[in-house]
Assembly symmetry: D2
Homo-oligomer: 352 residues x 4
Amino acid sequence: MAGNSFGTLYKVTTFGESHGEALGGIIDGCPPGIQLDFEAIEVDMARRKPGQSAIVTQRKEPDSVQFLSGIFEGKTTGTPIGFIIPNTNQKSDDYSHIKDNYRPSHADYVYDQKYGFRDYRGGGRSSARETASRVVAGAIAKQMLPEIKINAYVSSVGPIHLDTPYQELDFSKIESNPVRCPDEKSAAIMEEYIRDIRKQGDTVGGVVTCVIQNVPVGLGEPVFDKLHAELGKAMLSINAVKGFEYGSGFSGSEMKGSEHNDLYNPDGTTKTNLSGGIQGGISNGMDIYFRVAFKPVATIMQTQESLDNKGNITPMTGKGRHDPCVVPRAVPIVEAMAAIVLADFYLINKTY
Amino acid sequence: MAGNSFGTLYKVTTFGESHGEALGGIIDGCPPGIQLDFEAIEVDMARRKPGQSAIVTQRKEPDSVQFLSGIFEGKTTGTPIGFIIPNTNQKSDDYSHIKDNYRPSHADYVYDQKYGFRDYRGGGRSSARETASRVVAGAIAKQMLPEIKINAYVSSVGPIHLDTPYQELDFSKIESNPVRCPDEKSAAIMEEYIRDIRKQGDTVGGVVTCVIQNVPVGLGEPVFDKLHAELGKAMLSINAVKGFEYGSGFSGSEMKGSEHNDLYNPDGTTKTNLSGGIQGGISNGMDIYFRVAFKPVATIMQTQESLDNKGNITPMTGKGRHDPCVVPRAVPIVEAMAAIVLADFYLINKTY
Amino acid sequence: MAGNSFGTLYKVTTFGESHGEALGGIIDGCPPGIQLDFEAIEVDMARRKPGQSAIVTQRKEPDSVQFLSGIFEGKTTGTPIGFIIPNTNQKSDDYSHIKDNYRPSHADYVYDQKYGFRDYRGGGRSSARETASRVVAGAIAKQMLPEIKINAYVSSVGPIHLDTPYQELDFSKIESNPVRCPDEKSAAIMEEYIRDIRKQGDTVGGVVTCVIQNVPVGLGEPVFDKLHAELGKAMLSINAVKGFEYGSGFSGSEMKGSEHNDLYNPDGTTKTNLSGGIQGGISNGMDIYFRVAFKPVATIMQTQESLDNKGNITPMTGKGRHDPCVVPRAVPIVEAMAAIVLADFYLINKTY
Amino acid sequence: MAGNSFGTLYKVTTFGESHGEALGGIIDGCPPGIQLDFEAIEVDMARRKPGQSAIVTQRKEPDSVQFLSGIFEGKTTGTPIGFIIPNTNQKSDDYSHIKDNYRPSHADYVYDQKYGFRDYRGGGRSSARETASRVVAGAIAKQMLPEIKINAYVSSVGPIHLDTPYQELDFSKIESNPVRCPDEKSAAIMEEYIRDIRKQGDTVGGVVTCVIQNVPVGLGEPVFDKLHAELGKAMLSINAVKGFEYGSGFSGSEMKGSEHNDLYNPDGTTKTNLSGGIQGGISNGMDIYFRVAFKPVATIMQTQESLDNKGNITPMTGKGRHDPCVVPRAVPIVEAMAAIVLADFYLINKTY
């Protein structure tokens, strides 16, 4: 009933259920005069879309975005950018079996309780398909901030972790494999693991790491709208996210001040960066990096107990085409939300 | 220049620097007719205030709140509640040594860069003293929601972890020791550790766990304003926080769906609660629990390199009275921010 | 770059230029479970659309709305309602003559100055075509509040005034004539006057009066979001509006307190209603009534001086199909904005 | 329960009842580095305060503002500016006679209905004393925008109108008489009229005209947050306001397009200014001018019928010290709200 807008000056509002006519959104606040690279937008859409590789859901959704306003002769006009992403591959029958059932660890039950009934087709509004609109808004935000480099990648799949510090990774390799892990050896192991999981009819969680470089000093609005607080909210608003940490994160809580403090170089940069590029909620010019934890997808191809709306526990087996592991497709979504947050603070910071 | 309000319907706006005349705030949106328990507010203030025990900063600040409006004959009137917390123990000289210096891992540098200059006394607006206003707003939010039980406690101090599941802890013991850890044995070890750290002139981080019980089903506003996303933002907006996870958190990312899914009981409750009381961003009636990671306080009583505003690296030794470990005093702040988030969503949910 | 959303809980965001692909919007906050009457929505759309009678612009725009989300089996779901109104009758050539010209009393010049360039086709975002999206959002708001009766009508066309108090008018006659004036005699004179004005290639302003009945006591949020302040903003945000007054309005400023005060009946109603149904910014249960002044349409079919973007004054003659008088088509827009304001305050008031 | 904040980037939140401890507010978003002229703030406070002349209420309220934060060494720091205005002249007994009574055309009844009970002392939150906080925020907004000149004056008192166009008035004379009318002859007649009204124990309404000069082109955010729409809301949010018109206003609705259009000069200025300095919701660089209608103060010193909370009609005679005519004291409030609106749009416009 609320909660479908994000941002203050670069403000994104989205709509759409997985099985309605279309998804879409409005970007209000994009500055005028930005020459849009539509291909780059489609590239990010393609990175998110189903069916892109053997280890993600095999649903086929073209996920093509149609811009309806706010763009004239290829440039943003400063007026709101409206866009839609038609739903062309709706197989609503796939979901008739869940019409009266609440799937475990899905939003079915709470939607029914909160709204009084629900659009049961494909999760309705709670479907991760909603994130397609975020990717569009994020792709434009990236183009608004061409100097800033945002790179996300998969750093864990289930128990398999890539522990190499991001500084030693080659981000250009992220897209070289379907897992979106820049370390090829780890990527291969992760991919194998996901294939196994899928064969078991199971799913697995993972972690996406995101690194933001070339951020100007000064972004973030304390005390409540600290840069990392908005980044955290942005990430936690993505489906299936269970945790967020930046800089030293949870491991920083085990450290001493004498170890954790980042000493300055004469130019204001710091020798270490346990702070993660943010001090007191404001970017300090160093790299911003953070980790986002995703739970395993709830829909599994095994038989599980579910609850029906009459209070009966009934067995249910997942149908439809679902991801065995969500993190490869989550990478562009993490980047998109990061870009939206930065675009918003960038605009606010221009008012000083 | 912005960012000093939190919430949509239960909206808290704060002001104040550590060494100005006073801190304070305005709570707009508290419903009328709530009989306030002023003593309970003072209890939470006392839990946050400096000087309360041997393991926290020895600054003496009475931290007494004065309500200026919105209350008539002991009850809220539905109009904005204005309040101030006078600063009575300002020792600005304590800070003259940092006037031209940027302390490592402090906000000094970024404030100077963003705003052009800074109120250098005690960190100014970036001081954790700002959180006193949050505690006031949170204490009233708690009274707005008397059925909901919010209990936070210290679950880690540096490398010392309390791994007991919260269900096995006795929350009535939280206030029995200065660490605010409900397990007395762990509390003793943690306290000893903090004393050692202080002797070293050092500081240490820690983790606060928060458990929220008796939450009605239906709180939270997807897709962006998910309940856990707002809780995450609220926690990350507290000084020194580096990470947030709820339910299974980061460890959930290592699990399989078949392990992670919470199966239903016939009454809609679940047998397990890896979800952490929230599905799809909406409370499901189970306990909400989350963990908040705090970094070590940056001001240490050892000599460190700092940067002055002419680009020179100069040695600096911390002065003033600072906390060796922030988590004992962070417990009421975590509770307060949780209460504010719940109060806001509770009001929004009444509109359905 | 901002400013395209209206409302706090019933929040409407719109997009679209007159000559882009489509207009549209998102309604976030409509409660779930409302059985929509789509025909009633189309009726309001038809009341606003061009070409409906001989005294309005003869452009033919079907103005059919397509709902893309937030509705399932005919009922609102509580999730955002996305909709589009395709632009099917774009004659961009009609506007090539204004590409480099600033029409007098149009927004051409300020858009160019503010945004750096403009979508010159048909006024772009500043076109009154944008109000079609408001009518959709207002039509749904009306259905959310079935008890409340909102009736707007034309009370002035240029110098011709209908001075009859609204209590003596038969609102069922509003739609009986193309002017939308419920007094048939006045309507005939107004219609004749508009026909004359059109023959002269000129345009004329007018006034729309709006009466809202059966409003519950308590809507409005002082001190800034007073009910009449939001109604005023809503009306002033409609293209061509120059003034707003409610209750006694400007004439009330000439009165004495002893004349102006509305004395009570024992049931809390008042004997007179100079207050216009609102006291201190809060509805008091009496009829709300207000007047909205519209200037004459700036595009006239006479030759006028315009400015080109090189600083030359050049003669220009209006082309295209424009309204000689905007008020007949403004009636449903005034009603729509009133409904949106009431829906928003209605939801906020449920939180008490 | 909401509605006590105004603005997006220059955001003012106020609190306080007429008979509580203090009024006050928080200005969030004032840019850093503004050298404040505290005397100028006090001058505006003095222009609003009671007891300043023989024709306003004789209450004595020192109305001195205390700044608590956001200012360091005389300059704004970019952090929120908290301030209070203590209530020092509370005569609550003056109001005991209205405890159970609803005064005609006062907010007593609606507050009781909306909130369940009310702070009956002096109107509580609905008292015009609340506007003192607005004057503080407006005085600082003026200093943020030193080039922009805002001058308001009384143009009508009851039936006495000053019809001279503002261009022919000498604004430096506004403060030369207690009415705040720059035409001395009209001022004298108005003053005499107000004295008469007071002798009768009656009150009278009036009109304040406001002229804003040197506004840069480009302020305002269509489509909803048009410059005049926000100005209108700002003015309508002031106690006792019944109407707002800008530029040609209601009289513009009687005109033809050929008369109303403002033709350009080669430099982009216009030969006439019926538009009132705003086109399409965006400032065009010409003078902005508007008129604000105030109703007569409801509290009169004559015996009137009132309603008690048991449903009885009872006679009541006004007590206390009230204004016979509100417009002389409203002048600085109109200016303050105008300054707040401009400051907000000025900051938003910097983001383009």
